[in-house]
Subunit: 162 residues, 2 copies
């Protein structure tokens, strides 16, 4: 089985110092602002990013360890297959969030609608393009009747490992 | 600098046997179907995924090596900062595509609108939820006048490494 080694290209800073009480998705963190500090050696790669209203962040759930193939998500009371949830404990603990980009200055980005733990290691940034990334969905599975709850739900300790 | 080690959880099969002539984004691969074979040991994690019309695939650009901080994307004729493009050669060669899920059976998924190379190693699957992942963008940067071109553009050899 091939292995892929990735490294942090920067750090996401947010007001969330621990995993309990966090919004569970950006939809529940609409007004929360954060900053991204990119390593200086990658800062030139941010050129032109400021023209985009939204960006895609790929990051490591660095505090997550292990996983279960069936989990009970924050937004439901019954178990679901792990890959039909956004739980942070995954075979590859990769996270993805679409956030609003408020400002780009040098190696620093100011973002809005961020739902990750302070100090989260950033792995990649991509421009968000609705024609590629934002299709109209016509089925939301078990989230159909639960997605609206994400605005108000906060995490508890169920996915923490320490 | 922390390192993160990820492994393939399955393989994405597509009609694209080499990198030249591929659609450059799912928007240009609307009718292209592919299959995902998940490793048996992870198949139980797919439970309930079939209820979602669209899923998010995170995968490794396994044929990409190295990167440049400024690139000339397929959709333009001038250079842009790497992180404002979707070029596969990146500090962490991670790819992300939102695709339509047509069928889930056991360890196999049939998907539509897939734009990756046959044999691409899959790292994660997440349910696509417009309320989290599909905001209305009000600025598309350098893509503003170029995004529509993605429907018809095909890749050339510029991002290949071999």
């Amino acid at each position: 089985m091939p292995d892929f080694s990735f490294h942090s290209i920067g750090t996401i800073h947010t007001p969330f110092k621990n995993r309990k009480g966090m919004p569970i998705q950006p939809a529940g963190a609409k007004n929360i602002c954060g900053t991204i500090e990119i390593l200086e050696k990658y800062a030139a790669g941010l050129k032109d990013l400021g023209g985009f209203s939204h960006i895609i962040l790929l990051y490591a759930f660095h505090k997550s360890q292990g996983f279960d193939l069936e989990v009970t998500p924050f937004m439901d009371t019954v178990t679901h297959g792990l890959f039909s949830t956004r739980a942070p404990r995954r075979p590859n603990p990769l996270g993805m969030s679409v956030v609003r980009l408020l400002e780009h200055k040098g190696a620093k980005l100011i973002i809005q609608g961020i739902d990750v733990l302070d100090g989260t290691p950033l792995l990649d940034i991509k421009p968000y393009v609705p024609a590629f990334d934002g299709p109209a969905a016509d089925a939301l599975g078990w989230l159909e009747k639960n997605a609206a709850k994400a605005d108000n739900l906060r995490s508890d300790a169920r996915f923490t490992t320490s």
